[in-house]
Symmetry: none
Subunit: 401 residues, 2 copies
């Protein structure tokens, strides 16, 4: 179903939708026949909510495709993640509140360490402190090249967002990070004639950065990767008529939320409870809340099965605060799976719960992978969740007479 079709049917209502995304939620058992992280976690509140919900398993991008965070989020937000592809550079810039314009070409930048022969000895420059990262970013800002404007925004430690602004910059540029040490960083190659100018600007910038940083060991060089422009994505307001807010600690998720037009809410701290507080505080101001929990994915990627179980239990304990706000629709899902046994994102479908008073309940009092498999949402593309949520929120008109 095309977004344009849904857009024509979207209608206003005085209802609220809350979407809780536990990053990398889906898991795998430690041993054949065992329980996944979510099945292992003691989740009385989610289980009780499941009993009043429709359950299912969402496929973020396509069968067998392991989704990155960007595509995984776009999909659960209701967009086709293949049609709307966001490059890493664009996400990085968005994540640090840099307002990308259509003339901008962004990349992920980082400081690194070269030895006397110009060979990489540390791809992350010993993860220099944030303060030093900010100082060196200031230094990079002194680089000027005719015909292009540069923006350098520190992210954290050795990382920064790099943006070039000039008309008609092509975005097909290769990465300079060789992904191993003991070799020199790579030059940037243009993937086509339309990107040659951009490659030249970037290569000249890197050379000048090398001169400026020469005595700044361990951060004596930079690398750039994931060059990307800002994709044009129709906003939540435009398509769904939703005045939407995002609650996330990490830049990437704040970035992808801004990409679809969500207002990123300020936080008073970085705990999951702080995120719920931000939702409570702003409850009256928005129709839609996206609340992102990062730690499930971090534990999954670290192979920390018990840690992931613990994070899920923390979230469960906060669910009563969400229910007390009485949203018409609650979605609990993930942007992809990150099973601790695989220590990585994976292609496995993601357990998903959709509560509303009008849902046809499945009568399953458990939120877990196998429980969701028996649910009435079935195994479905993640992008189908938003239309169902909007319908349950009374926000989709009848099609035809």
């Amino acid at each position: 179903m095309e977004l344009k079709f849904l857009q024509k049917l979207a209608m206003p209502a005085q209802t609220k939708i809350a979407m809780i995304i536990m990053d990398g939620l889906g898991g795998l058992p430690l041993e054949p026949g065992g329980k996944t992280e979510l099945e292992t976690a003691h989740t009385p509140n989610l289980d009780a909510l499941a009993a009043r919900s429709a359950l299912g398993l969402t496929i973020p991008v396509g069968p067998g495709i392991t989704a990155g965070s960007g595509p995984g989020h776009l999909s659960i937000f209701g967009y086709d993640p293949i049609e709307y592809e966001i490059g890493r550079g664009a996400l990085e810039a968005l994540g640090v509140d840099f307002e990308l314009s259509p003339d901008d070409l962004a990349a992920r930048g980082n400081f690194c360490t070269l030895d006397a022969n110009g060979l990489l000895t540390d791809r992350r420059a010993g993860r220099i402190p944030n303060e030093l990262g900010r100082e060196l970013a200031e230094l990079l800002r002194t680089i000027k090249i005719d015909g292009v404007e540069f923006f350098i925004e520190p992210v954290k430690e050795h990382r920064f967002a790099f943006v070039m602004r000039a008309p008609a910059l092509g975005e097909k540029l290769s990465d300079t990070d060789p992904l191993k040490i003991g070799v020199t960083p790579l030059p940037i190659y243009a993937g086509g004639p339309e990107s040659e100018k951009a490659a030249e600007f970037a290569n000249r910038f890197i050379r000048q950065a090398g001169s400026l940083l020469v005595d700044k060991q361990p951060a004596n060089m930079i690398m750039l990767r994931g060059f990307a422009k800002f994709p044009k994505i129709p906003s939540y307001q435009e398509i769904f008529g939703l005045h939407s807010a995002a609650i996330a600690v990490n830049g990437m998720y704040r970035g992808v939320a801004k990409l679809v037009g969500m207002t990123v809410l300020p936080l008073e701290g970085t705990t999951i409870a702080d995120e719920f507080s931000a939702m409570e505080k702003n409850w009256n101001e928005f129709d839609f809340f996206y609340l992102h929990i990062k730690q499930t994915d971090t534990c999954g990627e670290n192979g920390d099965f018990e840690g992931k179980v613990g994070v899920i239990e923390q979230v469960d304990a906060l669910i009563p605060r969400l229910i007390a706000l009485q949203p018409e629709v609650i979605i609990v899902s993930g942007d992809h799976s990150s099973p601790a046994v695989l220590k990585a994102h994976s292609w496995h479908p993601v357990p998903t719960l959709l509560y509303s008073k009008d849902v046809r309940p499945d009568g399953i009092s458990e939120f877990g992978e196998r429980a969701c498999l028996r649910g009435s949402l079935g195994v479905l593309p993640a992008k189908n969740i938003m239309p169902i949520a909007l319908a349950n929120a009374g926000r989709v008109a009848k099609y035809g007479a």
Copy 2:
């Protein structure tokens, strides 16, 4: 999901995938509430494998569509069988190792019997012996018509592959087989102006064949059907990066495997065990093995419920030999359903099992239609199986950051 999308993400790995296709596997119970052929069969090895697998039901072409062997195979091989349509004629020619060129238009040919009035009395000419079929094919090769070249390749008994080679032959030609006796064979009609030349060549060929065969009773005429050119299909190597092998006794399946670039392995006999031996013998040489079992379909089409059960049990008994090879991924499925009670191919989804160590197990210790319905693959297009298999084989890169 487009194949091109998957192609961009495909990555090499030292893993093997084995796909066992029992032709026409899906069935129906003899009586309402009874068991299907697969559910009736005693399959301890497949059941044990199912317990460690993800189960589902595959739809070869689309809801309610009964697939022929060509589309059924293309779909489980990962291709959209509507986008890549192969005509029966092209398959027949491929099946006898005829190397089709883009200028070739192929058809299935067969000898038939006409009475003194030119009416069909036997559509298969009494299934003449292979030797006679070869002799008569030689005779047909003497036919020459200006502007076109003909190739006649005996298949077996009354059947032969018929190929016309000339520039710009259209392929929209009707069949001459009226599918009943007591009437004359039909002339070939062109389905459009671009096919008129081809229709004329074929009709002239048939008239000359009638003259040559006039005293060759029971094989005193030919019929042609399933005219088709060779579709251009991207290969397994090109799309998936797989070095693939096919093991099949019958020409059609060898043909469709060649169409996607598989190497057809030689066989030392025609039993199912011989097919498994060929897989064992060539195990180190390929990344992907397709092994086809014909008899399930033959029994289904003959209405032989017990026979089909027996074939499935034969395959089950050979499964330990497959498991001993330790492929990273095993797929057991069919190209379509052929329920014995219907004595024909049918539209019913096909029970499918996908084993790997990283599959999220469904906890179902049975391989059967109803068991598969509870499985985590859900009811899915057959073409989605290959991406999932590739993911489980560590052969698909992450999409996006």
